[in-house]
């Protein structure tokens, strides 16, 4: 008998409802990926990703696709942290996130942390395509192991394009079996939490934000395009979140 992992794709489509709000003509959960619409805030529709099962486990293939149509505003969060766990199936699990924001659309993608548990093997791909004058706030946090636990293997690639042009393309590989030096002084320096916050705003093209340090181990960096990246490492998830929250607040 061949043991295969779970395959699941959740889909969201957000559209300007023509009455000053955002409608969600598509809101489809799938198996372990359940979606809930929560109370809207002004013109923005809000969706919560609810993990109906734990996972992803080895061999699973999860995907989330969110599309924000012209002029629509969508905010997506998650009810809890995602924990990558080892499964019955050998081999890596995949989690693919595909986010498209059309001209003048706005997306806040603010999930809880991804925790890489011992023995897990997960490859996360996040691809964001933004149209002209689209706005984005995206947070990505990885925690290496639960409290006091060795991490699993985690590889995460994040690509952000504005009008077809890549403004950010970064991959981080860590845990047992990752290329050497991942825990060393050029990459994570023994820290167990690592995160990125990407903010894209059309006004950054004319008024770029100046680079600055946020403490010793986080920096706010203007990218080659209308975008900034906050990159941070921290001892734990709590400190990491505090750094990224402060950075977002400072951007106004």
């Amino acid at each position: 008998m061949t043991v295969t992992g779970v395959r699941a794709t959740a889909r969201i489509l957000a559209r300007d409802d023509g009455r000053g709000g955002t409608s969600l003509p598509v809101l489809e959960g799938d198996g372990p990926l359940a979606l809930r619409r929560t109370r809207a805030s002004g013109a923005e529709a809000r969706v919560m990703l609810v993990g109906a099962m734990s996972g992803p486990l080895g061999g699973d293939r999860f995907a989330v696709e969110a599309k924000v149509a012209e002029g629509a505003r969508l905010s997506v969060g998650s009810a809890a942290a995602t924990i990558a766990l080892p499964g019955q199936t050998k081999g890596e699990a995949h989690y693919d996130i595909r986010l498209d924001v059309a001209d003048g659309g706005e997306l806040a993608w603010l999930p809880e942390q991804l925790i890489s548990a011992r023995g897990s093997d997960l490859y996360v791909t996040t691809r964001v395509e933004l149209g002209a004058r689209a706005r984005l706030v995206l947070r990505e946090e990885q925690v290496l192991g639960r409290a006091g636990e060795e991490p699993g293997r985690l590889t995460s690639r994040l690509t952000v394009r504005v009008e077809g042009r890549a403004v950010l393309d970064q991959e981080l590989a860590c845990g047992p079996g990752a290329p050497g030096g991942w825990d060393g002084s050029a990459v994570l320096g023994g820290r167990r939490a690592v995160g990125q916050l990407v903010v894209v705003r059309p006004e950054f093209a004319a008024e770029p934000v100046a680079a600055r340090m946020l403490g010793e181990e986080a920096a706010l960096m203007p990218l080659a395009g209308p975008a900034v990246l906050v990159s941070a490492v921290a001892a734990d998830a709590l400190r990491l979140r505090r750094l990224l929250d402060e950075a977002l607040a400072a951007l106004g």
């Binding site: 042009r165 890549a166 970064q170 002084s185 050029a186 320096g189 990218l223 990159s231």
Partner: protein, 224 residues
Amino acid sequence: MSRAALLVLADGRFPAGGHAHSGGAEAAVKAGRITGGASLEDFCRGRLHTAGLVSASLAAAAVLGLDVRELDAAADARTPSPALRAAARKLGRQLLRAARATWPGDELDAVAREFPKGAHQPVVLGLAARAAGLEAVDAAYCAAYESVSGPASATVRLLSLDPFDATGALARLAPELDRVVDRAVEAARRAVDDGVDALPAASGPLLEIGAEAHAAWAVRLFAS
């Protein structure tokens, strides 16, 4: 082709200005992350598998004739730190000047016209290798080796580290350097058909954050 041209290009005395940059070692020394031979090796290993792999693949892709503007944009997207982007362009401009004098040709002249502020150094390195009649694998070796030799020689100066310890660390990294070059060239070949997205994007968060911290210092020994 003359394989010996690789020695000319890879020589630390090739007048391309690389000696003024520490490859992040100065920031790591100040932060207490490099304190001696063992931690230097650890730093270099991480840099090799991240920035080194990316540089090697960009250089190899430039030798294989990928569009220079696309490669330069790919390098920008893989370098979030504005201090590192500026350093890479400055080094690219200096390398291009030396390469045009050493291996004159139309292709390098065109790059100088198209990028008056400099193109990313690994891309220029690949074009220089191409002008010297070298192959993709040669350019990848040169870029991968530079990613570790720079911090190693800078650390000798910064910490008065025994040079034997520094070269010992480089020698121990040699088998991994071979593997990084293999990966880089393989990715560059894929990029010929699939475009620059096929190039690796491995990143070291502390390299980028450290470069920003370093750029804010009032006084420093190295430019980056």
